[in-house]
Subunit: 158 residues, 2 copies
Amino acid sequence: MNTSDDIYFLDLAIELAVENVKKGGGPFGAVIVKDRKIIAKGTNRVTIDNDPTAHAEIVAIREACKILNDFQLTDCIIYSSCEPCPMCLGAIYWARPKKLIYAADKYDAADAGFDDSFIYDEIKLPYEKRQLKTITIKLEGACKPFDLWKSLENKKIY
Amino acid sequence: MNTSDDIYFLDLAIELAVENVKKGGGPFGAVIVKDRKIIAKGTNRVTIDNDPTAHAEIVAIREACKILNDFQLTDCIIYSSCEPCPMCLGAIYWARPKKLIYAADKYDAADAGFDDSFIYDEIKLPYEKRQLKTITIKLEGACKPFDLWKSLENKKIY
């Protein structure tokens, strides 16, 4: 069952996306909520900031973490105007909120000219079949950073 | 065929990862190269910056785009000490470099306690089977941002 809260915050994410287009940004918005309070909002700033990672969800996650002074969004809900692309979905997993709620889907995004659906398809392919030329060179020292990490006693796990 | 350049830059990414662990960061490093010149370096700063998106590749991509004053990494090569997680792989697709080269793989990362492999598995599942509670609410206005975007004549495509 969707609560009226969910609809309110999701509507807000959509409204942010509409306003962002009017300001020259991309058509995406996100809102992060904890205990029914808005912690952070984000809109797509890729072309405004010259930052391909500045999708609405990433912008909102970075801002919310700064405000909460934490690298985790424990007990937060992420509302997104659109189904997150693989980059944003990955970021959401790393931030570990309790829930993700979105409105439009990756096919709507693709219909508007965005690569979300293409990237989802690519991720499923073996490297040799991807359009992005991808090469693995397992150098002898490849696992040195992990070996050092594993040997540390007082590391900050994330 | 791997060039000695590739091995040099990939070794550098691994060395950055090792040094980063010594400084209290995560065991990952990345280098972005264009025309055989290093444009930017990145290391994992998640716990240092309280930013779950601050993986080595994302840090390097943001820095390289700032330096190139562009939201695309045209003709660049991304060298990563480890196979990118889904977030970073998505970011790499959005940045559109010409090539990705990495050393360790997602299983090495998982063996060191990182969720990369888990997130790859989750992305393949339908939403209702994922560990992250994910809800779609296709509100009536869900595509309003896209409709507005599509109607614009002078938009900056990305």
